[in-house]
Symmetry: T
Subunit: 154 residues, 12 copies
């Protein structure tokens, strides 16, 4: 068992999530991405974790972020947005990266268009949380922390 | 805004979940269903909620449980197991039932056989949590409570 | 030609139909299942037929009901609900059972989700009536009686 | 509630139905189309309705008939025959036409070749009746009349 | 090598098999389920095995039977009937259950309707025997006994 | 055996065949439809057959032609053109019509676009001849005559 | 370069377009077909073109119109309506016809039912304009005129 | 134009055709392969052609026969039997071989099992004749001779 | 009705469009992207509109451009190039963005490879113009302007 | 009832089965083909049957073997190996051949790659036994003998 | 590490490759198979390897060649031609055979007909080289030698 | 024939290839991307070629690299990684670019997940080399050089 240093979590927001709070509120709610980030930091702090953030609309920058995380983080919390359904490159990056990842989505991907019901990226994550609005992120943080703590206590 | 009475949550366990802790631990872990139920009760109690349970291997009994819940509960937490992928009847029961429901799965349904990647029932739930072992239930309870509290505070 | 004794019809209601009148009225109307049963009995009586009823949410109990009907009934009127689209077992029971059957649905199965447009069970029935609300049952009773009377007059 | 004038129903027979009574009787029975029309008129008269008829083998003439019906009729009873499975044009005409329509088929379209199990046109009708031979038309007339009377009594 | 005690085999009959001998004999033959059970017991006895039986039309009861068998039996002989093609729950029960299982079918599932050619459950069995009428059960018993004896002689 | 009266053959040309000789000659050759008709008449005459013709671009008129042929002809030679691949109505007309029919195509339908490789209508004909340009009609006439003569000599 | 005589354009309206202005205005707008024709003539006149019109609900009459246009017109503007998605015969007629054609649709065929997203006929046209209501026709006229003028100026 | 020497035609019979006359006569007729060969020779002789034969049940021997034919023959008449639907190797051999080929089938491949409706090999032939029993071969010989004569008269 | 200020249109060019005029001219013509931009500006100016431009080969930069347009523009004219067929992210950006958009393509996407016939992005636009080379942009500008003017005159 | 002469069974081994005992033992076991043949002969002898063998890697030679068996054998036991999933020619040979056949496979074809789950040949056999290693052959011999004895005792 | 004896490579040419140099040169070039074999021998010699060859048009003979190679060779270079796309038997032979294999194709199988884009056999090889004409063989030899040398140097 | 100047080759590495040597070595080996680049330069130098490199995780930057190569290079060696299977934009860039390209992959794309077996980009390359680890690049360089030298010697 390694000594219990501070847990570092990287939250990766995919395309269009920078618009959060301005986009159709009946689907995505009114909270902004910054609100979510603040709340994630606050909750992380309570549990002894530092939460960092990156957002990009560019598929390859998300790949870069995943690749770069291995050195400094213990887990990823990722919302790949529209790239979930088409990106083999992000899937490969998650596979190559040694970190456990949790995928989250604001909306319920099984209750929208059919092309959203498949997730190429989720197969490379521990699990998926989808449909709870901003709460999906908070539950995802809990899942990631529980997973890291579980590894430590082994 | 209605007065804040105790929240009642019904947890519905589908087929084969009674075997939990005996089935292939590399996929499902070693926790028993009773362990999970105890933990859910404990966590519910902390947040002022009473958590009840039903388990059945029979599709139609799950339909019965969903129908019967409307009178006494504010939300459902359901793991439909193998019926998630084939049951129009459970889907219809969730649709007919006025309660918000959260679907959870122990294993990551997007990382197993292809026929598990589709969920007929999830489209009738608020959202889906899948892949975190017993933790999927605890995150699901949080999601259900957050949802009910959200409705109350409106 | 056999002597014209009283015709016995068994009406089999599938999953969730016990909720009738409480479920989304824009799709299914406000009539209860008991209202429909009363009206079916009244109409049967007018034409010299006795109409009996069974409802179950459990697929295998519907199989049991179909199997058990052969001894005492001349025809079946069945609304298999969500099992229409998935149940090979009910299809086989209808096939094994010597009785003519009429399948009916409250809503128009061709105007809803795509997975409702296929009926495994209808291929084992004389025909299908779908989309007329409670009227689907009454038309179905007429169809069943006309069929039985047609057989008798041969 | 509008005054109860006579109900006008247009029955539209699609391709090959003019052959009725000559075509393979094991599938379609021996009744001719004129027999059916006579019986429909007789039954309509009993319930205070006038029933008119049109038959064509030509897809576009069926479109014309549907379009032209709006001015003089309260409902349509249509057997689109083979065009049910392929005609977007008839589907569009039914959609554009303000009249409630009932689709009927002599044979059970779910128990024949697979390409007959889909109906493009049924989605634009109130409902579908299929498999009862000439009786499908009589049940269809009942369904159409019940629907129109239901609208009037609102 | 464990001592050679009596071998216990559980035979699980799925939906509609209780009708055996009454259902379409051109497909399934005239033998009753009891005839088969008697013959299986007789054959088992000859080879030092006790054969027990359960039949149910209810999917979840078959799941229960499979789960309950682990404590007292060394192998299963199962004919899941129509549930073979649709039941993820029975598949999961066979997977969770520690016992070797042999799947058998009276008719040749590759020579009937296309939806019968796939078996979800067979992938969790040692193998499949299909098409030999009642003989399928007797061959299946031989296969199960040969398998258990093979394990013992290792 | 019936007396050998003159054989009457109806040749039915489908959509766009009136353009023959003007349309892309690399696919269809330079012969006109009238050239083909003359040659068919000449060849028919040599074998004691009268050959008649109808051409229409309208699906329903082809249905009419097929229906009307039963009274006066012993066989049909039909090139349904583009309707081969989509017309359930022509298929049904060929099925209802008591006459043997031969389907022919100028071009090889298996060597063009994928949607031309399926023929709904060919399944209701004795056989298919495709790919030999105008020769497809002459071979088709031979096939039709051989078939009728074969029936007569029984 | 040929001398610049008057350009002749034939506009071909497919099934149900005669209803324009009466059909569901939220999808198709309130303009009538005659309004569109008047506007097309006015716009054609401004650019030295004569615009003529034909409308039919009958697939084969559209084939006839396309075939007949070659002698007198320099280009076609066609809205095949529901036949776009199913008609091999119209596709073949456009292919056989020597004239450049522009396909237009009032509604956006990529934003409606899935069976409308494929166009068999568009592959035989220069291009497709879809989704702009009556404006689709005016843009289509511009496209056709630009194409013809481009050919002339070569 | 080359001098009119004797035309050499090779007829290639695929798998199971050696059984002709013994196999199910309701599908294939009672004529033996030798009967067909005799008749083909007789008909060839009448038109100044020598007809030779090869039969094999082995896919690769059919490939060999096609390859070897180029030196001595002007055309092929081939019935690839069951290999029509699966053999890329025979397709490639027909493609590589410089000779025109006619594919024929005794039964109507569009009126049997669905896997027989596709022909990989027909796309590499001039055309296809299917459904006329032994007559398919005689029509095929006519088609091949007409094609060769057509090439010579150019 | 708001005051008629200058209309601002943003034209978004997707991947490979910077190569215009150098790429295969038989498919895309010889005009350069700058030529098109100049012409669009000139035409915009004539109708009181200012037209701006952005081109990128990077999917996420197109997402950025769409997001950033909402503040300063009244409409978008977008050619998403190859991303039309695969980008859920651009589709979501168009959906989130409050601006009306017109999609245009130089080549006819229905007359090329099958994977180009589907457009994920077009469903989030008013409509689609495809196949007219550079003219597709000019028609698209007209369509966008007509739409904005139509909104203003309401 | 014919006199009870010795039963002759032909066992046909398909491609790669000659390698048995050398190929991956975790899938196929260590028994050689000769071991199996010896055991089949021994078991046959016990039940008054003579068992003969043929093995070939060549599809057409298997066709030959099936065709040639009709004269001297009462039943076939066939393991078509990889050809089960692709050979229409072997299917046709089994169909043409008057002998009852039993198909067997060493491994469970429903638990391996998806392309092994379909069997073209099994539809022409009495039934299928798959998954029991060498035991599949012995069970298959029992099934074949039981079938032949059943025919004799009629 | 074993002593470095001479490396033995078997090159297996599938159907129609004996025609090389005579078949369509725009696809396959003008080099003959013997040219390729000579060059492969020369190149092998330079690297201390002996290269042998076998060609057959018969699927089962290719299976034989693969099976027989295990005793004398260290690697296979195989061009299965048309059998790549359909042969489960060759796939199984490659799987059973202990030798590393390299698959090569003269033409680019991803740029031709769709049925050539799948390779059943490639999954049982180290890798695939396709599209470089005769060079595909030389690159394949290099790949095979590099692989064998890599194994030796471990 | 142009004078033999130095050959310039651009090697384009797609997403995640910068991780080479750190990612799962059982699939991709332990060589780093820099190791491969060094070796490619060394090998190029031996054959009188200069080899340059670019790597990006961003789809559009790969498009940029391909576009920019036309001015300075004679050939491309590209490993599009995960974009091979989804990128129409890279496919279009390769098509627009005048340079011959060779596609290579470290792992065998036909022996992994099904979504990797299709390559949109390979159809725009001369050929594909897949499965040989770093050797795939060296073989690819040979293939590219052989192709360029072949063009020069014409």
């Amino acid at each position: 068992m390694v000594p219990n240093t501070v847990i570092q979590i990287l939250v990766i927001h995919g395309p269009n999530l920078n618009l959060l709070g301005t986009r159709d509120p009946s689907v995505y709610g009114t909270t902004t991405l910054d609100d979510i980030n603040q709340e994630l930091m606050r909750r992380g702090k309570e549990r002894g974790a530092v939460v960092s953030f990156v957002q990009s609309n560019i598929e390859g920058e998300l790949v870069n972020a995943i690749q770069g995380a291995a050195a400094s983080y213990q887990a990823l919390l990722i919302n790949p947005g529209g790239y979930s359904h088409t990106s083999v490159a992000i899937r490969d990056a998650l596979d190559a990266c040694a970190l456990p990842a949790v995928e989250c989505h604001l909306s319920n991907i099984h209750a929208r268009e059919e092309f959203r019901a498949t997730s190429l990226t989720a197969a490379m994550c521990i699990g998926l949380i989808s449909g709870f609005g901003a709460e999906s992120y908070y539950l995802g943080l809990d899942a990631a922390l529980a997973h890291v703590e579980g590894l430590r206590s082994q």
